[in-house]
């Protein structure tokens, strides 16, 4: 463990994202997301990452820091994350110069921020979500890991820590789309950077852990209602960042243009059938049977 006192320090990187639930999401007439009218919430994958930190807090008494980069409204994500993981510290990295950053420049900010956490004692595990749901790249996590010099381990579905040895043991899910999935079991010395598989859900398997969980949830409610007391806001300067490595100057990539995706060439020529005609559907049924044959009739 990095902290000589024996406390496990963990961090969570979260993101404020559009809320895709019914009633909160709004689409433009052309099918694209209406960002102005869509509410923003803690992204679902960020929530999963927060729950992994909760596990560390309940089971190992970890000290939890949560961070996000964004404009001041991104505080909402920190607050919602704190409600999940009972965070001890919230970091907002907010500076006009960070605007327009691509993943490399973003991860530079996060790297610097993580270094500042937990009184600069060093973070043992950083958690982040699988990907952001608004079509994010899934690159920020691994790039931040690399910049921190932490081994990156993705798609984690379970982990446990051996505090004595300073090791973490994990299971990760490797999706071989179309094939059977693989569960890989790994072991690594701390520190590590973990992204959680969307299916991750912490499980607390003793009465004591459950009692501790309840205490933490109780506490989390109180804390998140006064989250500002836990909030520290950092600028590029207070993070001691080189201005050439963040925001636009630090971004190798640019968005060149955004356009509507033109309709692809038709691959098939569809027979168009009136769905309200029983006669037509009877024909469709016959064709389905013709292809599927005995599978559906035993």
């Amino acid at each position: 463990m990095l902290n000589p006192s024996g406390t496990l320090n963990v961090a969570v990187i979260v993101k404020l994202e559009p809320d895709f639930s019914e009633g909160n999401v709004s689409y433009n007439s052309d099918g694209t997301l209406n960002r102005a009218e869509t509410k923003n919430v803690l992204g679902p994958h960020s929530a999963v990452a927060s729950s992994a930190a909760l596990y560390a807090k309940v089971k190992y008494g970890a000290n939890v820091s949560v961070a996000t980069m964004g404009p001041p409204i991104a505080e909402a994500a920190l607050q919602q994350s704190q409600l999940i993981c009972n965070a001890d510290e919230l970091h907002l990295y907010s500076d006009r110069i960070f605007a327009g950053a691509d993943t490399l420049a973003t991860s530079e900010v996060l790297r610097a921020g993580i270094k500042k956490m937990a009184n600069e004692q060093g973070i043992d595990i950083v958690f982040s979500g699988h990907r952001a749901s608004d079509g994010e790249t899934g690159q920020t996590g691994p790039q931040t890991a690399w910049k921190l010099g932490y081994p990156f381990i993705g798609n984690v579905i379970d982990y446990d820590i051996d505090k004595e040895r300073g090791y973490v043991r994990l299971q990760r899910l490797i999706k071989n789309y179309g094939h059977n999935d693989i569960i890989e079991e790994l072991e690594s010395p701390l520190p590590v950077f973990i992204t959680l598989d969307p299916s991750y859900s912490p499980f607390f398997n003793t009465v004591s852990q459950r009692l501790n969980l309840a205490l933490n949830q109780n506490d989390a409610e109180k804390r998140s209602s006064r989250y500002k007391e836990y909030l520290k806001t950092f600028s590029a300067q207070s993070l001691e960042l080189n201005l050439k490595s963040v925001g636009l100057p630090g971004s190798p990539t640019i968005v060149y243009k955004v356009e509507k995706i033109p309709r692809a060439k038709a691959n098939r020529k569809a027979d168009i059938i009136d769905g309200y005609s029983q006669e037509n559907l009877s024909q469709v049924a016959r064709r389905i049977y013709g292809i599927l044959g005995e599978t559906i009739i035993k």
């Binding site: 690159q139 990156f152 993705g154 059977n180 890989e184 190798p252 990539t253 060149y256 559907l281």
Partner: protein
């Protein structure tokens, strides 16, 4: 050495050649500056990071080689000197795969074969891929004419989890730009005027990879470029121009055993430190949702929304009737409707997503129910033998991927269709029993 110099000259000539075609006069003024830039640019070739699992190359890797081949054939017909498609493959006992990569379009294969590389581990793989991507001697073997290799010009990864993670860490190590989930690529000379990159001045960027990325809704395309900073206050070169490519969108090229290429053995430098993440065990688990053993798949999308719960129940019944597995489009996995928890936790889950961020399927019959046909979804189902769509909107893009398009509302069409199938089954059952 001399050959290198002459190479650069040809290069510069070539630039002039293009500029001549350019009508803009003021561009001439900058030729000198560009020549200088191009001279110090020793970034060559397209490197493709291949993925294999237990000695089997994943289809997405062949697809990247196919697209890489097409791009670089174009490149080579347009620019000089010629550059190559270079496959990078890591693993253990994988030498026999190298030839296969050449048959599928690689000009050269750099192979790191080592017991420690049997399974991908991000830390170790990142180190080795970065070593290869900056290795001058391998590059020299690819084209002897160029021994001033710096980094690859372009680099491709697969946009699956392993490839996405590797692309991120490798590019963090190489300190260059990366675009994810790409489904269209073009190489072009572009005139760019950018607040930071060019400090607002128009500058021509040669051989730039335009990386097209569909947004999550499938309606918008964002083109991403990785460009050097030519801003005098913050000059920086960014190579390779890298991306991760959505599996299933690009066609492979036909396997051709007459294709020749060079296989380069790369001896990785592995430090003890690189091995600290250890694989203790690996086991295969069966997918709960089994698309492979079903002849039919019924998928549904946002079109169910007017009566989500009732429609899902109808779809459930329909699938039962034809013994189909149930799939969904990506937006459904975000549980956008508040319905019976049982239904939502059974069906509105990532495991059922068909498309680029889910599974790719090829059933005998694919039913697209209330699916509009976003590009991501199409990528997952276009290999189906026969496609039947149900949709009230005959303008929906899914029509172009359908063999039969049933125009009508789900809640009205499905009950009728279920009835007809039941009738048909009964009819077919009787003679069988008589037999």
């Amino acid at each position: 050495m001399t050959s290198a110099v002459s190479e650069t000259k040809t290069n510069a000539n070539n630039i002039q050649g293009i500029l001549v075609n350019d009508t803009e006069n003021e561009n001439r003024k900058r030729t000198a500056e560009e020549k200088e830039k191009e001279e110090e640019n020793n970034n060559r070739h397209l490197y493709v990071v291949i993925e294999q699992e237990e000695g089997k190359i994943l289809p997405a890797s062949f697809e990247m080689l196919g697209e890489g081949r097409r791009l670089m054939d174009n490149f080579n017909s347009k620019y000089n000197p010629k550059e190559n498609v270079v496959a990078i493959i890591l693993g253990h006992n994988i030498k026999h795969l190298c030839q296969e990569l050449i048959y599928h379009g690689a000009d050269a294969v750099i192979c790191a074969d080592h017991p420690e590389l049997r399974y991908p581990r991000n830390l170790l793989y990142t180190k080795i891929i970065s070593q290869i991507a900056t290795d001058k001697s391998s590059a020299a073997q690819i084209s002897s004419s160029n021994n001033t290799f710096n980094k690859p010009r372009y680099m491709f990864f697969s946009a699956d989890d392993t490839g996405r993670h590797l692309s991120s860490t490798v590019l963090a190590e190489l300190e260059s730009g990366l675009a994810s989930d790409i489904n269209k690529l073009v190489i072009n000379d572009l005139e760019i005027r950018h607040e930071h990159k060019t400090k607002g001045k128009p500058i021509s960027y040669k051989k730039t990879l335009e990386m097209y990325r569909p947004d999550f809704s499938g309606f918008l395309w964002t083109t991403i470029l990785c460009l050097d900073n030519l801003n005098p206050e913050n000059k920086k070169e960014f190579y390779p121009q890298a991306c991760s490519i959505i599996p299933g969108v690009f066609p492979q090229i036909e396997r051709d055993t007459n294709r020749n290429g060079k296989v380069i053995d790369f001896t990785p430098t592995i430090l003890q430190e690189d091995l600290k993440v250890k694989i203790i065990g690996r086991r295969t688990i069966k997918n709960k949702v089994d698309f492979n053993n079903k002849k039919a798949i019924v998928s549904f999308g946002r079109g169910i929304k007017e009566n989500a719960e009732q429609n899902i129940k109808l779809i459930e019944n329909f699938a039962k009737e034809i013994e189909a597995e149930i799939g969904i489009s990506l937006p459904i996995s975000k549980k956008p409707y508040i319905i019976n928890e049982n239904l939502s936790s059974t069906y509105m889950i990532p495991d059922r997503v068909i498309g680029t961020s889910g599974r790719k399927v090829n059933p005998l019959v694919y039913f697209a129910v209330g699916i509009s046909g976003a590009v991501q979804h199409i990528a997952g189902m276009k290999e189906a033998e026969f496609v039947i769509s149900i949709n009230p909107d005959a303008e929906a893009p899914i029509i172009d991927e359908s063999d039969i398009f049933i125009k009508g509302k789900i809640e009205e069409v499905l009950p009728l269709l279920i009835k007809e199938i039941k009738k048909y089954k009964e009819k077919m059952q009787i003679p069988q029993e008589v037999k």
